[in-house]
């Protein structure tokens, strides 16, 4: 119930932003429209909670940005220099995150940072298989992920 309401508000906001018209009529229309769309598509209950999120989200965002730039520089160096320095491989990372949303978020974050790529999630959702350009030590790699993205995702989504 609450979730639906939130999602509804969110969509209304997106609508208003997209159309750029902050008038009452536009907001009302956006609300009705998104209400209708949610009615069309929602099945079952969704689980996200919204209110404690904001500060964590901001911190998460900057962490992600940092990772992104760091890795991009690394890749730039790799691509820009004539010799290859890669030590690629596929690593199965055991997961603590459980929900689909969390897993997806984690996987996407990993993919978005250059040099790594989420290939697949095991059927029982316990292992995330990650391809990485630089694997010196499997355990280090796993730990980096678990302490980095996974921890933060757990924070913002619990």
């Amino acid at each position: 119930m609450k979730n639906r309401f939130l999602a509804n508000l969110l969509l209304t906001f997106i609508w208003v932003a997209l159309t750029g018209g902050f008038t009452f009529a536009n907001i009302l229309f956006g609300f009705i429209l998104s209400y209708f769309l949610l009615f069309v598509i929602t099945r079952g209950a969704s689980k996200a909670r919204y209110f404690k999120l904001v500060p964590k989200l901001i911190s998460f965002f900057f962490y992600f940005l940092y990772q992104l730039i760091k890795a991009n520089v690394q890749v730039a160096w790799e691509v820009g220099t004539p010799k290859y320095h890669m030590t690629p491989g596929i690593v199965g990372v055991p997961l603590d995150v459980t929900s689909d949303g969390q897993i997806t978020m984690l996987a996407n974050m990993i993919t978005l940072t250059p040099g790594t790529l989420s290939l697949d999630v095991s059927e029982d959702k316990k292992v995330l298989y990650v391809y990485s350009m630089y694997i010196t030590n499997k355990e280090d790699f796993i730990r980096d992920i678990k302490n980095g993205f996974e921890k933060r995702i757990l924070e913002i989504s619990s």
């Binding site: 991009n72 820009g80 993919t111 790529l117 697949d120 350009m133 499997k138």
Partner: protein, 128 residues
């Protein structure tokens, strides 16, 4: 003039990342490496270029649209990479000879006509 400079800088950065992706996809020795290098570099680069455009036009509706594009790219690019990566792996696209390890090896089992995810479970959807 000030804005122009900002735009110039952001656009330059973005373009450099795009170029990086371009060089990367050409240079990297195997499919997975190409993917690992390019998808993200391009995403960052395009994001920056779009920001430059948003700054240039400097009005709410353009900015929201630019934000929408960026969000979309952030959402779809990794999913796309994941899909192609998985597909490549399943179809046996060769990995670079210097690849160190492969935890996925042997994890995909053929079950009838479908290849399922690793550690195949039994329930089965009607797929598109």
């Amino acid at each position: 003039m000030m804005t122009d400079t900002i735009i110039g800088i952001i656009a330059t950065l973005g373009t450099l990342f795009v170029l990086l992706a371009g060089v990367g996809i050409l240079r990297m020795p195997d499919t997975y490496l190409r993917m690992a290098v390019t998808t993200k570099a391009a995403t960052l680069g395009i994001g920056l270029i779009l920001v430059a455009a948003a700054v240039y036009f400097n009005d709410l509706s353009t900015t929201t649209r630019v934000l929408a594009v960026i969000i979309f790219i952030l959402l779809t690019a990794p999913v796309g990479a994941h899909l192609i990566g998985k597909a490549s792996y399943i179809t046996g696209v060769k990995m670079w000879e210097k690849t160190l390890m492969d935890d996925l090896e042997g994890k995909y089992r053929k079950t009838g006509k479908n290849i399922s995810s690793p550690r195949n479970m039994d329930h089965h959807r009607d797929e598109l």
